[in-house]
């Protein structure tokens, strides 16, 4: 568990409070998504949780001994190759870099200097350094920034792994990627206050699965698009599903995954 006990924070004595009176806790197995506009204080909250910043008032209690923090911008201006850096960061924790280099598809970049890496690859190095010691608390500050589609799909997997082993995850997000973390608790940061937000962002949208005849599929897609709807997926249906009112083989226009149906929101 991590507990924010009456935490206040400001960057200088003469500056306004960035965060006021934060009372919150994260339980083992929880994923908390921190929402808020740019400059609201999301990164500050995450850095307080990580122990990078100290509260101006109040305390952060019961932080696990191993914390992994992925900053919003990885500090790539260092005279190390990616592999050397990760081995050194693992040595700081008294562990070995393990399989995270392979899992994050960094093998081919191990000999590249950090300063020569692309933004996305540098971000993956930042992810790897946070994960090498099996963190009890993983803090991800806008982890999707700069990542390619393959790496983006890894984030929910990583979050699930950490929470499944009793760890906690705090992740900030301003791009609406939270649909990939369907069981997450949401905290909203605004006006220097942190409040628990509704379980799903109020997008006002729903997902409808529509089944059409194969020959009419292109026209149906075009018509729906013309009316301003978003097509998430078009998949082939070989046989009618038992619970559906079938009209024979055709194409289903659908989000494609059951989580989309449960989530009840698309964007």
């Amino acid at each position: 568990m991590v507990r924010f006990d009456g935490v206040w924070f400001r960057y200088g004595r003469r500056t306004d409070w960035t965060l006021r009176e934060v009372e919150a806790s994260v339980e083992p197995g929880d994923t908390v998504v921190v929402l808020g506009r740019n400059g609201a204080g999301k990164s500050t909250l995450l850095q307080l949780a990580a122990g990078v910043l100290r509260p101006s008032r109040g305390l952060i209690k019961e932080r696990p001994p191993v914390v992994g923090w992925v900053p919003e911008r990885f500090p790539a201006d260092q005279p190390f190759t990616a592999g050397d850096y990760l081995h050194r960061m693992a040595a700081l924790r008294g562990v070995k870099a393990g399989d995270w280099i392979e899992r994050l598809l960094l093998t081919e970049h191990t000999g590249t200097r950090l300063s020569d890496l692309s933004k996305g690859t540098a971000q993956k190095v930042g992810l790897a350094q946070a994960l090498i010691a099996r963190p009890g608390l993983l803090i991800l500050d806008e982890p999707w920034e700069g990542l390619d589609s393959v790496a983006r799909t890894l984030i929910p997997e990583i979050v699930a792994e950490v929470t499944a082993s009793g760890g906690m995850v705090l992740v900030s997000d301003h791009r609406g990627e939270i649909d990939n973390l369907p069981k997450a608790i949401h905290w909203q940061v605004s006006d220097a206050l942190v409040a628990r937000a509704p379980a799903a962002p109020p997008t006002g949208e729903v997902i409808i699965e529509v089944k059409v005849r194969r020959a009419e599929a292109p026209q149906a897609v075009a018509r729906l698009k013309a009316e301003g709807h978003q097509i998430l997926d078009v998949r082939d249906v070989a046989a009618p599903q038992p619970h559906q009112a079938s009209s024979g083989p055709g194409l289903t226009i659908t989000p494609g995954a059951s989580s989309g149906r449960e989530g009840g929101a698309g964007s």
Binding site: Q47, A50, G51, V52, L53, R54, V67, G68, W69, P71, R73, F74, P75, D77, Q78, P79, F80, R88, M89, A91, L92, R93, G94, Q129, A133
Partner: protein, 226 residues
């Protein structure tokens, strides 16, 4: 913590930032020993005093090599105290290496008179260099970016402090105890006769006390300025 010390030393060496202070060390040693031989205690006393600002500058450079973001990552990995201690340890190791070079260099250039009091002179010289290291590292740490937040502030702190060390360290100073005994040690070693044990004890106690206060201030400021 040793892994972080090694990482910071490696970053400092590989990044090439060591070149400027290394050249400064060579210039200082060249100036001191280029003009002929001196008694060991006298030569080493001047060497320790002249290297003090270079050691402080080198310590600041080493601590500033790492980007702020990486310093925070190291803090998360090993904890705040060990992160700060690792930086100071890396700077101290490098300063001791420079002192070892300064102890050996005059023998390569025949800068030491070998006819009298060589052993006691070398031991006194060793003491002078060792006494200069903790205050120099502490001063470099207090001028580092983690404390001063910016390049200009850091340079201002370093230059002002070095000038004060010299000015307040002059004979007849109104407040010599405000600064580490760098000049006082050089003066004590400049006499024809070795300084008495009581003088050495005062110099050691003075340097240790100054370093304790300076490192304590650094530790407190690091806690406050995360």
């Amino acid at each position: 913590m040793s892994a972080l010390v090694r990482m910071r030393l490696a970053g400092f060496l590989r990044g090439g930032r060591i070149l400027a202070p290394a050249i400064a060390v060579l210039i200082v040693l060249g100036v001191i020993y280029g003009g002929g031989a001196s008694p060991a205690a006298v030569a080493y006393g001047y060497s320790a005093a002249a290297l003090f600002p270079v050691l402080a500058w080198q310590s600041k450079l080493l601590l500033d090599t790492e980007p702020d973001g990486q310093r925070r990552l190291a803090r998360v990995a090993v904890g705040g105290r060990r992160e700060a201690l690792a930086g100071v340890s890396a700077a101290t190791l490098l300063a001791l290496l420079v002192c070892a070079l300064a102890m050996v260099a005059p023998w390569l250039f025949r800068g030491i008179e070998t006819d009298k009091a060589v052993v006691s002179g070398v031991l006194l010289g060793l003491l002078a260099h060792v006494l200069a290291v903790p205050p120099a590292v502490a001063l470099g740490a207090l001028a580092s970016r983690a404390i001063t937040r910016g390049v200009r502030n850091g340079i201002a702190v370093l230059v002002t402090a070095v000038i004060l060390v010299v000015v307040l360290g002059l004979q007849g100073s109104f407040a010599p105890w405000l600064v580490p005994p760098v000049m006082a040690t050089a003066r004590a070693l400049n006499d024809a006769t070795p300084p008495p044990a009581a003088t050495l004890a005062v110099l050691i106690g003075w340097a240790v006390l100054w370093a304790v206060v300076a490192f304590g201030t650094y530790a407190r400021l690091r806690r406050l300025r995360t």
